[in-house]
Symmetry: C2
Subunit: 246 residues, 2 copies
């Protein structure tokens, strides 16, 4: 029975992605603060698609060629120079994004997504607390091997992405074979933290928590740690992320 279950692994940093076989797997890109939370929210609010771009110059260039697009992104947690918008989910309400294309570049999430693409991932979706249930439902229904890919911070392991991996495992881990200490660690940490994710991040002195709090972004952090506020499923088609749920 065990052997028939697909496998699930957690990749705590993009620098560990090469250790895993991404082909025939669903790779879940996780960048909780804030890229994948913002992608989910923009699509939930009606954006036509989100195009992740590696560089600021690439985002500017693409924005100029796409009618009615929005260029956005951050470097080191702040709006990147030359881009009109940032990486906060609250910048993308329905009035603003409906039907439009968001061209987004971020420090970590975009990079991991393109790495997974280059390595030939079977499917690439994005995960965040706002779409936790949609991600879990999809992974269960697909019955494929799963790689939970934490975008981390410049390849350094971070707490919030690990906690999201743990949340997925807490909900659906039993349906998978998990010969993966990182997954068990993520699950343990999530179970410790789940009753108050924000408080746990604060008490653990999480580095990115501090970075964003210093920018006055407590509201962003709280939203990005709250499950199911924007339950759609961003799927990457090789160029853009589009919502695959009605």
């Amino acid at each position: 029975m065990t052997s028939n279950r697909p496998s699930l692994h957690t990749i705590l940093s993009p620098a560990l992605l090469h250790l895993y076989d991404v082909t025939d797997s669903i790779v879940v890109i996780i960048d909780v603060l804030r890229a994948t939370s913002t992608i989910t929210t923009a699509l939930y609010n009606g954006a036509a698609s989100v195009i992740p771009v590696d560089t600021v110059s690439g985002a500017i260039q693409l924005g100029q060629t796409l009618p009615d697009s929005i260029t956005a992104g951050e470097r080191d947690g702040r709006v990147a120079e030359g881009l009109a918008h940032g990486n906060s989910p609250f910048e993308y309400p329905t009035d603003f994004v409906r039907g439009r294309t968001l061209v987004l570049t971020t420090t970590n999430g975009t990079k991991l997504l393109h790495m997974a693409l280059e390595k030939g991932a079977g499917e690439i979706i994005t995960g965040s607390f706002p779409n936790l249930s949609a991600v879990c439902t999809h992974l269960l229904a697909s019955n494929k091997n799963v790689l939970l890919g934490c975008a981390a911070w410049k390849d350094r392991v971070n707490l919030e992405d690990t906690l999201f991996a743990g949340a997925v495992i807490d909900r659906i881990g039993k349906a998978f074979t998990m010969n993966c200490d990182s997954s068990h660690m993520a699950h343990s940490l999530y179970r410790l933290a789940k009753d108050d994710l924000f408080g746990y991040m604060r008490d653990q002195d999480a580095s990115h928590y501090h970075r964003l709090m210093n920018y006055g972004l407590e509201k962003d952090i709280r939203y990005c740690l709250t499950p199911d506020g924007a339950n759609i499923l961003p799927v990457f088609d090789g160029l853009r992320l589009v919502n695959k749920l009605p």
Copy 2:
């Protein structure tokens, strides 16, 4: 006051070592099951030194040139072909090792040690539960930046090395600046596990726990998870590990 404290980081896999500045730092090589536990035990039992070697052929060759040496090592958790001894701490009692040189090659710990050497680490020591207190005392007294380097398993993060990092942090973390989510995660996990490390490893389905249990090595695991059974301090001099405590 905070800024005067040296920094402490936890490196969950050798594949993340490049993200950290090892110069002017003490790097603690951690390979709980079982390389660094065995190194500590052999030195505690009177071995003159332990020479870590990358390859099995290198260990054989060196053993032939060193009088009264013992060649030992494992690949994938078992005695490597061509070597006389394995990687169990119980293979190196006082009768056998006193005054002799142990030439040791292991899957993960040796590799990380040489990586730290090549990157110019300020000092390299080895850490394991049997010498937990000696490691902590030395790190406190040194007042230098610390990198807790987990040897992991073929670059995949493992639970036991992470737990040892957490144990060090639990004892002396407050003396350091820890802007490092991996360290906070390791500490959280250790606090969950500390009352019964063996039981935690079992319940968490730790991958290396299973590997060694399948080889009938429960006694090894229990010893390797027990603090302070062999409280000496292995320090690497560029070629060999020698005990720096009386």
